[in-house]
């Protein structure tokens, strides 16, 4: 039992944070809004050079051969900067599923090399984020998991409240695409994909919560009203203390869910849904309290806060709504067969060990 990240993981997190803080500024995000693709291919290449795109690609395919736990804090960093590019989708969602489906080495190599960007459809929702920027799409059809060349699909843009989100409805001819998995394997991989999607979303929501908290602390420490910084008022302090509490207590559930996904524990569904609910609540509260303590400034387009609020609002319904995750959680913990209480938190991990 050791619930800490190792030195390598922490260092990788720090270096990615540094990289993002230089390369994914809010100014650069705003610039993307006016561009056609809304995405930065050069940044993708840089991320590949850092080893990010191939993080979960096996070493013999040119990747780092690392795991979900190694990536989870990096997904959090993607949330922290509201990264527009689909790094989480490509690395955390597509790669493990492609590996499990026995996709060919060339594809995995090209992901690691930063040449292939993936977009992934959730079974819970028809629209696909970043379908037009991606080279390959993982989609669902008639119970099968299908790998589709982006070129062979037709996209219809579906504008989101978040100007950085690029959502599309996708159509393709029946004879297009390669069946990745069918039957039981498809069901298994689809379930796995759903957990990966929800986990990646959780980590991003956690990063978003922290970023909104940071922005709110910074703003209220500067902004003067009634002759002093508004952050010195107890009402403002308590708003942000509440965000800090919710965020602090969302971290461990997200990291644990990453572990459970990585180890394919029997309780993985439960753990992912818990993480998703905790992180979503933290991000939604961070948005609500953030705009409130920013006052009218928080309601403007010019202030950066809304970049993160809108992403949080969007992601909180992605890869399963909170309701869907509550229902899944309830199915387990209210079942007569399932034991909860003291000593049971790590039961499935310990049973598997």
């Amino acid at each position: 039992m050791n619930f800490t990240f190792n030195e390598d993981q922490l260092m990788f997190r720090d270096s990615v944070r540094d990289f993002f803080s230089n390369e994914v500024t809010t100014e650069s995000i705003r610039n993307r809004w006016d561009s056609d693709s809304g995405r930065d291919r050069a940044l993708w290449t840089s991320m590949a050079e850092l080893g990010l795109t191939g993080l979960l690609v096996p070493e013999n395919c040119g990747g780092l051969g690392l795991g979900v736990v190694d990536f989870i804090m990096l997904a959090e960093e993607c949330g922290r900067v509201a990264l527009p590019e689909p790094l989480v989708d490509t690395v955390l969602l597509a790669t493990p599923v492609l590996v499990a489906a026995g996709a060919d080495a060339q594809l995995l190599q090209s992901i690691a090399a930063g040449e292939t960007v993936c977009a992934v459809q959730s079974q819970a929702d028809a629209l696909v984020a970043d379908a037009d920027f991606a080279d390959k799409l993982i989609v669902h059809k008639a119970g099968n998991l299908v790998l589709l060349d982006a070129e062979s699909a037709r996209f219809q843009r579906q504008d989101s409240v978040d100007p950085s989100r690029r959502l599309f409805s996708v159509e393709w001819a029946d004879d297009e695409g390669q069946v990745l998995a069918e039957g039981d394997l498809s069901a298994e991989l689809t379930a796995s994909l759903y957990n990966l999607g929800a986990l990646g979303t959780s980590a991003q929501l956690l990063g978003l919560a922290q970023r909104m908290l940071d922005l709110s602390v910074a703003y209220t420490s500067e902004r003067q009203q009634f002759g002093k910084p508004i952050g010195s008022f107890q009402a403002v302090k308590h708003h942000l203390a509440n965000v800090a509490i919710k965020t602090e207590f969302a971290k461990a559930p997200v990291y644990r869910a990453a572990y459970s996904v990585a180890e394919a524990l029997s309780d993985v569904d439960l753990h992912v849904s818990q993480a998703r609910l905790s992180a979503g609540e933290a991000a939604i509260l961070a948005a609500k309290s953030g705009i409130q303590v920013h006052g009218a400034m928080g309601y403007t387009w010019e202030m950066d806060l809304h970049l993160f609020m809108k992403r949080a609002w969007a992601l909180n319904n992605a890869w399963g709504t909170p309701g869907a995750h509550k229902a899944r959680l309830a199915d387990t913990i209210l079942s007569a067969d399932y034991t909860i209480g003291a000593g049971h938190t790590f039961a499935s991990a310990s049973d598997a060990a």
């Binding site: 989101s160 100007p163 009402a235 006052g295 309601y299």
Partner: protein, 388 residues
């Protein structure tokens, strides 16, 4: 206590309903934060005024019907029931007009109110300044009286409607040595005056719902002063009371939102019931919207009998703004993955207006004095708790 409408009140409701059915545009107008939409809304105000529906509580001489507050509430219910357009001149008709009635000269009333009623002159408000958001007493923009003109310098911000409006009302510091709420004067300023620069401020939805306004030696006739010099705070406080209080946020708006929320829930009940918080919120939305309505009728009845509005304007403001935010958040939760889609997105399938409403609802707890300020007011003025 008599909680049934009189025959006359029911007849009045029917009259409003018929007129609305005949006149409310079938297609929703564009947002009044666009130039075209603003013009459409201005025309709607004219249509309303033609039917003498602009502001039914105004005296007949200014285009009103001299009706009481209960009738006004009935009017509003029918207005929202008909999904009529949001009032582009609400700064004028709901905020400035009551102040004018109380503090304006006959000349000012006659000059200002009729054009306000027709929508010929749309009003923006000029309360906040860069360092005086919720702290209105920190105002620094100055007005210096020279002869029969004020020379205005300084800057206002968060001025709603100012991008396309014709006039602005606000407070300016006329006594340069004064501090806080002393030495302020309430002045009406034509936005086409020389020396004025309006810089639009895009809001959450990208549209310029408010603006910064820069004043560079702007000359304004002394006839545009409301109340006496140095009495600005007193005059403005009356307006702030109206804004927070009864007039601006009629219960009908929240009842209609609650009704639509109940409909949305029923239409999506299977998925919505996965999240028990949704059903809880939907039921609470109904209960709260009713409570707001009942409380407003109670206040209106009291005012009709000569009572005055008190610190309850602060409880009102907190209540409706947080209810509105809660209802729209609940709608977002029901819509799930569709919630983020802009109204024009094909997959939004006609529910995108909830997103617009959700974004707008975010401003409720902030504007017209943040809810933190309102809670201070409730604690100190209504409960008599000690000041900090």
């Amino acid at each position: 206590m008599e909680l049934a409408y009189t025959v006359d009140q029911q007849a009045f409701r029917q009259e409003v309903r018929s007129w609305m059915q005949a006149n409310v545009p079938a297609k929703p107008l564009q947002s009044f934060d666009t130039a075209e939409g603003f013009q459409q809304h201005r025309e709607w105000e004219k249509t309303m005024n033609d039917g003498r529906w602009g502001m039914v509580t105004w005296p007949e001489e200014f285009g009103g019907r001299g009706l009481d507050l209960i009738q006004w509430l009935i009017f509003e219910e029918e207005y929202y029931r008909a999904s009529a357009p949001t009032r582009v001149n609400q700064n004028g008709i709901f905020l400035l007009a009551p102040t004018l009635m109380e503090y304006g000269s006959d000349e000012q009333k006659a000059r200002i109110l009729p054009k306000m009623a027709t929508g010929e002159e749309v009003w923006a408000q000029g309360w906040s300044e860069p360092n005086a958001g919720s702290d209105m007493a920190a105002i620094r923009s100055s007005a210096e009286l020279r002869g029969d003109e004020y020379i205005i310098n300084g800057q206002k911000t968060w001025s709603t409607r100012a991008v396309f409006a014709d006039w602005l009302f606000g407070m300016f510091r006329t006594d340069p040595g004064s501090k806080r709420h002393h030495g302020l004067t309430f002045i009406l300023v034509p936005l086409n005056a020389e020396g004025i620069t309006v810089r639009p401020i895009p809001q959450l939805d990208g549209l310029p719902g408010f603006a910064e306004i820069f004043f560079d030696n702007v000359k304004v006739s002394i006839n545009n002063r409301l109340g006496g010099e140095g009495e600005g705070w007193k005059v403005a406080m009356a307006t702030a009371g109206f804004e927070r209080g009864l007039m601006l946020r009629s219960p009908a708006r929240f009842q209609e939102t609650a009704r639509r929320l109940v409909d949305l829930y029923r239409a999506n009940q299977e998925s919505a019931d996965q999240d028990p918080a949704i059903r809880e919120a939907v039921l609470s939305a109904y209960v709260q919207a009713e409570a707001y309505t009942l409380t407003t009728y109670q206040t209106a009845s009291r005012l009709n009998q000569g009572g005055k509005i008190g610190p309850e304007s602060s409880t009102n403001k907190v209540f409706w703004s947080e209810l509105d935010q809660m209802m729209h958040s609940t709608a977002m939760a029901i819509l799930g993955a569709r919630a983020e889609l802009l109204p024009h997105a094909p997959a939004a399938q006609g529910v995108g207006h909830w997103l617009d409403g959700f974004l707008f609802a975010q401003s409720g707890p902030i504007y017209a004095g943040t809810n933190e300020i309102q809670r201070n007011i409730i604690a100190e003025r209504m409960l008599g708790m000690p000041r900090a």
